[in-house]
Every structure is written in C-alpha cells, then in structure tokens.
C-alpha cells in the first residue's frame, strides 16, 4: 500500500479550536496548479494570538496552503482554487474581494530575507505609503522596528541601506516591514531556514513575543523549531492535512501513523 492510500480521509484533530477564538478559518480548500492538484480539501482553524506551525515533508503543500491565505497564489499562472478561507468574517475568495486589500491586512515574511534596496526607514514605510498614510510616519516606523526587536540596533542609521544589515537583521527588517501595515495575522514561510543559529534563535524568541499582539502561522521544515515556537501544529502530507492539535500532543502522542513517522524523523 502506498502512503497515499494510508492517509485517512478525515483529518485527525485534537482539542479543536472553538469558533470564537478563530482568526482564520480554512474550509475545504483545494488548489490546482494547472492539472496538478496541490491541496486536497484542507480544513483548518487558526486560533487568534497563538503561533500555529505547519509542518510536513518537502512538497506536501504547506507553503501553498500558507500562500493561499493571503492570495499570493493568485500571482501564479493557471492557479485554480475551490473552497473558502474566512478572515474576520469575510470570505477571502469571494467575488468582490480584492486580493490587494487582503494582502494589506495579512502580512507575509519570506524564506530568504528580501529587503528593498532602499533605506531601512523606506523599507518599513513602504507598506503604509502604498495606502497613502498621512500620519506620523516616524512614530510608525519606530513602533514597527521595536515590534521586530530591531530598533536598538538601527535607530541611529535609519537612512542607511537595508542591504547593509546582516542576514538575521534583514529578516527582522522584513518582519518590521510586515508589521508596519498593522496586520492582525502574520504568515511566515520558513523564516529562519536561511539564517545562522544565533539569528534563528533571536527570531524564534521574537515570534513568541509577537503572538501577544498578532496571530502567527509559520511554515517550517525544522521540527525542533516547531516544537520550540508553536502552540499548535498542523501536519501535512501530499497535499492533505493529516493531523492537527496542540504542539506537545502532536510531538509526544501523535494519533496518525504518518505523523508519528514524520516527527520521529523516519522520513523528511
């Protein structure tokens, strides 16, 4: 029997998230890249003010799922979506929803730090300037940089290029850039996989701080990181969500056999 056959049709859920605590509700989401089906009826409730980790083997669809939430997949040619993603009561794939508006309310941090070749100040101010922000930009920039634990290191050199920072600092700059638009949900796609262990540690601590004010959904292929950083974990395999629940439960007492094999490192 292949792994595909072994996946139960139902996702195994432990301690399901009650509806009033939900920040994002994904309902029966399926996605096709042309003829290739990348997501199979995924349903997941992401709780507010917690860190949820999305783990799974390479190619299991976790990045695709993440990018479906802020409609970044719309930028790819030939993408088709069915199902629903609900945020703040709004169906994000509804007919009169503008993806640009969605992305202004849901922030994203990418795997490789990608600050603009502009000054640190201009990087953080980029998002608010898109919407014609007219208030105190200096205060907003400072708030975002403090939120990303970067202010103390760069307050004296805001006009210098963002590219002059180290890798870890650049990633925190990207986080500050995302925070500047004041999203309530932050999506992170393997944010530390390109960084050294010290920078990784700083960002992991930042993520645990961020959940005070934001909802964080983080894709990671590093299971130890998922264990350190997240409150809930969702496990994916070949485009399906196979199990989800509180992190310690998933790691110590998984109910699906595939989950158990994945978290114990028997395949990656």
């Amino acid at each position: 029997m292949t792994d595909a056959d072994k996946i139960a049709d139902e996702t195994v859920r432990s301690s399901p998230v009650p509806a009033e605590e939900a920040a994002v509700v994904i309902e029966d989401l399926s996605l096709w890249y042309g003829d290739f089906r990348a997501l199979y009826d995924v349903s997941l409730t992401v709780p507010r003010n917690q860190v949820t980790a999305l783990i799974g083997a390479s190619g299991c669809g976790k990045s695709t799922l993440l990018r479906s939430i802020n409609r970044m997949n719309d930028l790819v040619e030939g993408v088709r979506v069915s199902g629903a993603v609900r945020y703040d009561g709004v169906e994000l794939y509804g007919p009169d929803v503008d993806p640009v508006e969605v992305r202004r309310r849901i922030g994203m941090v990418f795997q490789k730090p990608n600050p603009f070749p502009k000054s640190i100040y201009e990087n953080v101010a980029f998002g608010p300037k898109l919407t014609g922000f007219r208030g105190d930009m200096d205060a907003l920039v400072e708030r975002a940089l403090r939120g990303a634990a970067l202010w103390d290191e760069v307050s004296g050199k805001l006009r210098e290029s963002g590219l002059g920072l180290s890798g870890g600092q650049q990633q925190r700059l990207c986080i500050a850039r995302a925070l500047a638009s004041d999203p309530s949900v932050i999506l992170m796609d393997e944010p530390t996989s390109a960084l050294d262990p010290i920078a990784t540690d700083r960002i992991e601590r930042l993520i645990t701080d961020l959940k005070r004010d934001y909802t964080v959904l983080i894709v990671t292929h590093n299971m130890q990181q998922a264990g350190r950083v997240s409150d809930r974990t969702a496990v994916m395999h070949l485009g399906r969500l196979i199990e989800e629940g509180p992190t310690d439960l998933i790691f110590t007492n998984p109910r699906q056999e595939l989950t158990e094999r994945y978290v114990s490192g028997r395949f990656g």
Partner: protein, 401 residues
Amino acid sequence: MLDVGGRQARRRRRTVRTVEAAVAMPVLLALLLLGALLFDVITDTLSWQVLAPAGSGRSFAFAEGFAPFGSWDRVMRLELAARGVPAEDIEPLLADPEERRVLEARNRVELMPWVDGRPFRWLVTTVSDELVADRPLWSGLASRRELLAAAEPGQVVVLNAWLDPAFVLRNASRSPLVAGLLPAFVGSLLLVGLVILLAVPIGVGTAVYLEEYASDTRLARLIELNLSNLAGVPSVVYGILGLTVFVRLMRLGPVVLAGALTLTLLVVPVVVVAAREAIRSVPPSLRQAAYGLGATRSQVVLRVVLPNAVAGITTGVVLAIARTIGETAPLLVLGAAAFVPRPPDGLLSTFTAIPIQIYSWVSENDVEFTHAASAAIVVLLAVLAVLYGIAYYLRRRFASR
C-alpha cells in the same frame, strides 16, 4: 610513470602562451590602428599657414588679450586700434548690437600657438584674409624658418590650431578660416534632446509592458521577435522611411522635427532592449515582497521595479544618445542641409548635424576645410568617448548592485 611538471607541462605552458599571444595580437593591432587614426586626425587640426591678412595683421601677447570671459572683447579692442579706428569710436562700435554682429561674423579671434616666431599670441583672422600657403604639421615644423624667411612684408606666418573653443562656438562660413561648428553642434544637441524626450518614454513603456503586463501573450512574442530585427536594420533604411513619412507625407520638410522623429525610430529598439534587460534583472523576490505588502501591479512597477532598473535603463539611454550623435546616413537621406549658416531656430527649421558637417567639409574643394573637418572629427570622438565612458561607469555601478 607520471610526468609531473616535466616536458608535458612545459609544452602546455608554451601552448598557452602562444594562444594568449594570438588572441592579444588582433587587440593590439586594433589599438595601434586606432592610435594611428587619432594621431592622424589630431595632427591635421594643426597647420602652418602663411596669411596675407586683411585686418591689421598684428598679433598680441597672451597676457595682453586674455580676460576670463572677455577675451574676445579685449583682443577686438586691440585689433580695432591696430586697424586705425579712432579710440573714441571703438567702444560705441562694440556696444552697438548690429555692428557687433557684423564684427563677429567677419572676424575670428584666435589664440595661435605660434605667430611669426613668437609663442601663444592672439590673432584676429578675417573672412577676407588670403591664404598664401598651408603646410601640414610635421613638414611645416621642419621648414618653419624657411617660411618665415620667404614671407613678404605684411604677411603673417602662424601655427594655426583649428580646434579651439572658438571653433565650437562659431557659425559655419564659406571661408574656412572663420568656419565653426556651432550650427552643427546645436543641431546635434537639439536632435539628442528631442530623441531622448520621445524615445525614453516609448522605449521604457514598451519594455515595462512586455515584461510586466503582457509577458506571455502572442502580441508580446511577436514584438520580441521583431525587436532584434529592428535593431539590426541599416540606418539608411530608417532615413528613407523618415523621408517618405515625415518629410513628404506629413509635409514637414527636411526640418529638425523630422530628423528627430526618424532618429527616434532608429533608437527605440536600443532603449527597449536595454530597459528589458534592466527590468528582467530585478530579482523576483523583490516583486514578491512588494505584492506581499499589498501593492498593486502598477505600484510594484513604479516603486520597486523601475527604481531598481534605472541604472540599466540609463545605460541604454546613453548608448542611444551616442547613436543619435553619430548617425549620418539617415540624416543625409532625410535632407539635412550640407551648408547651414546658423544654428536652427526652432523645430521646423532646416538643420545640420556634426557628422553631416564633417561630410560636407571633407567634400569641399578647398583643402583648408579638411582642417576644419579634422577638428570636427576630434570634437565628435571626444563627445562619444565621454558618453561611452559614462555608459561604462553606469554599467559598473549597475553590476555591483
């Protein structure tokens, strides 16, 4: 047994050295020929002349005539006095705009490297000066004492440097002694200005459209295929096109505007190719970051892509300018006049350009005009060298980002 560092290695080193020499040879040859060309042209801008002057024929010391921006006035005063104009008439003559215009047209104040045996003196040459003898630089150098001895009273022996600031600032003339490059220079400048104004928006806009908005449509592929074809079409063909469409069909006549439009057509493919390359080299991760923050496509293009592509686009623009300045054939076909006495005074006046002026001077019967042509060539090469230097510098800045 392994032959380490022995005969085989020596043979290989010899082969490498031979190959290096073979590759370096054509480059050295090209540099040598280029050097020879430059040497030839530059020496042709200097000539030994024996003049029978129509003016006073007197030369003035450098210190006598020099003033930071008023040398012309100072020397002219000395010359008028030398011609016997009464002292009280000199100032009114120079102050009256009409009289001054005539003076400027008929006389040329030059700083000659050598006059009658003395170095660096001011001399005023006129339209009516008679050229008794004209010798090239090296043979004249050898025989300058004979020239001095053989000169009749009243005649002046000079080493005439054709390439001086006055050359670029003077109007053309039937007399080679006072001929200048001003109409051609202004004509070329006007063409460049108009071409930039037209070609940059069209070229950059096309590149943005092809790269960002329509990258996979049939129309885009069609344009892409023809773009490289267009860049390779001989410029004469553009001239014929311009003649037919702008000069005849649109009844513009052989004017600056028609020339600029024709050159724009010529230059747009260059700009588009450079702009596309610049836009393509903007990393997709930057675009993703911008989209992720909620930018619309036009915001991504205007705020992220284009600012990043500016260096490459500027390189393309500089190269386009270089082509505009150097193109002769299309302008000739179009009807750029060979003799234009003054700079164009509007978009709808006849015009000339530096390469056209060179061509017309070289075709003159009067051998003296070749000196003017050489001087114009040096000006043209200097301008092109500066432009390519700027393009090179921009490319390096672009690459290091």
